[in-house]
Amino acid sequence: MSKLILKFKEAVLKEMPLEQDEMSIGRKPENDIPIDNQAVSGRHARIFKEGDGVFIEDLGSLNGTFLNGQKVSKAELYNGDVILIGIHTLEFIGEKTRETDKKAFAVRGRSMDETMVIDPHDQKKILAAADKDKPEVTGGFLVIEGSTEKREYELKERVTTIGKEDGAGIRLKGFFAPKVAALVNRRKEGYFITPSGGKAMKINGEEVNHRYDLKDGDIVEVANLKMQFYVKD
């Protein structure tokens, strides 16, 4: 008998023999194969028998159903086929093997490791499911103590150096100031600061010697400089 193996990465979550003529797949618990993940639609796809074959059909899901790396609306399943739904995979074990179809794949030159571009329209459909694109935050430092060129620094660049070096975004003065005291990185998820090669750094009075994720109001002390980190709304 044919069966389906539900996997997440390498881990096998479930093995299901194909006893019914039809099985539904979706996020909602009433599906025959429920997959609890937000990338999966409530009713995502169905697998059904027709003639001597077994088919998969996408039920208008947001993120699509991929068979062997290709987006499908309806397709016949063959032994060893891999269905991708959200971030879970379903492996199909059946009697029929894909002989003729493999050739069709090759002719069209669409193997799974080939780079493809996706239509912006499809893209929106795929990503709309969880479109909670956060607005980007801008942050900066207010200098409390120390000798710098400005009192306030807005951090717009991906990496800003605090140091004496020419290109440093926050430029330290004084003969003994280090070339690079620390680096501040701006990423989509926020800012972090990393002290450079064993330099001393204090955050809110505590010694920190590794990467630190900056929060609004943090007091940073590095190389004779005391600054407060702020986040702009």
Partner: protein, 268 residues
């Protein structure tokens, strides 16, 4: 700032052809990588064509022609707007070519381009080829991949680790030449003495971790050696894709070397 640049490309261990291309003009401060795609070897055509357009664009600039294409971003420097224009022009050229011949239909390419002028770095990119900055023992990716998995990571649908293993890793959300218009991402920042810039195609980043890249490029000051080692590493790890690497070591021009350069002009 002076750039000490090395560049290398390799087909990898699996593929028979190399669809990557690159261009370097260290004296101009221009570095570009491209990763082509498409059937019937059209990927090679697309990446080559895109690079040639950028080369021509900068040649045109030095002879006084300046074409600015698309929206001018006031927040960014003229130099940054220029490289964005060059990428848009490349998009138009590849797109028109793909429409003109059936065997080229659907071809496209990624482009990652940097331009260095004094201590300012301008970046423009489309696709999943990357630009990295290595500074003070840390490595930071300066470009956001235009790939489906990156968009999913951004929206917290999947983690970075899942993205690395995703079956949809090769699906791009933007490419040069696949549509009449393309959104070019631009950015700029300060660079300083001792910084290292690295441009690469996904054949490197798919095979070699960021931390490994960091340790290889900081172990030497020879840009060619760094490129060779990175390509060797990508191939040792499987070499599943074409791989291209450009490394640029940023060196502050000392007064005496400026003087030597100045005097060289009179020796001709």
């Amino acid at each position: 700032m002076k750039l000490s640049v090395g560049a290398q490309t390799d087909a990898g261990m699996v593929r028979s052809n190399n669809e990557d291309n690159f261009f370097i003009a260290p004296e101009m401060g221009l570095l570009v990588v491209a990763d082509g795609m498409g059937g019937h070897a059209s990927g090679e055509v697309a990446s080559k064509m895109a690079i040639d357009v950028i080369k021509d664009y900068f040649d045109g600039l030095s002879s006084g022609q300046e074409k600015l294409i698309g929206t001018y971003h006031e927040d960014f420097s003229r130099a940054t707007n220029r490289i964005a224009s060059a990428l848009r022009l490349a998009n138009m050229a590849v797109y028109e070519a793909s429409m003109s011949a059936p065997q080229w239909h659907g071809m496209g390419t990624t482009l990652a381009c940097v331009f260095v002028e004094n201590n300012r770095l301008s970046i423009a990119h489309v696709g999943d080829s990357r630009v990295y900055l290595i500074r003070a023992g840390e490595i930071e990716q300066l470009t956001d991949d235009h790939s489906l998995v990156y968009e999913q990571v951004k929206r917290d649908l999947i983690t970075k680790e899942q993205a690395e293993k995703s079956e949809m890793k090769n699906i791009l959300t933007r490419a040069i030449g696949t549509s009449p218009d393309v959104g070019v991402d631009i950015d700029e920042m300060n660079i300083s003495d001792g910084d290292i810039l690295l441009l690469c195609t996904d054949g490197l980043t798919g095979m070699v971790l960021d931390d490994q890249i960091l340790s290889v490029v900081t172990q030497t000051r020879d840009p060619h050696e760094a490129c060779d080692s990175l390509i060797r590493l990508a191939n040792e790890n499987g070499g599943l894709d074409n791989v291209t690497v450009i490394t640029a070591y940023v060196v502050k021009e000392r007064w005496f070397s400026s003087l030597v350069n100045f005097l060289k002009r009179f020796r001709r």
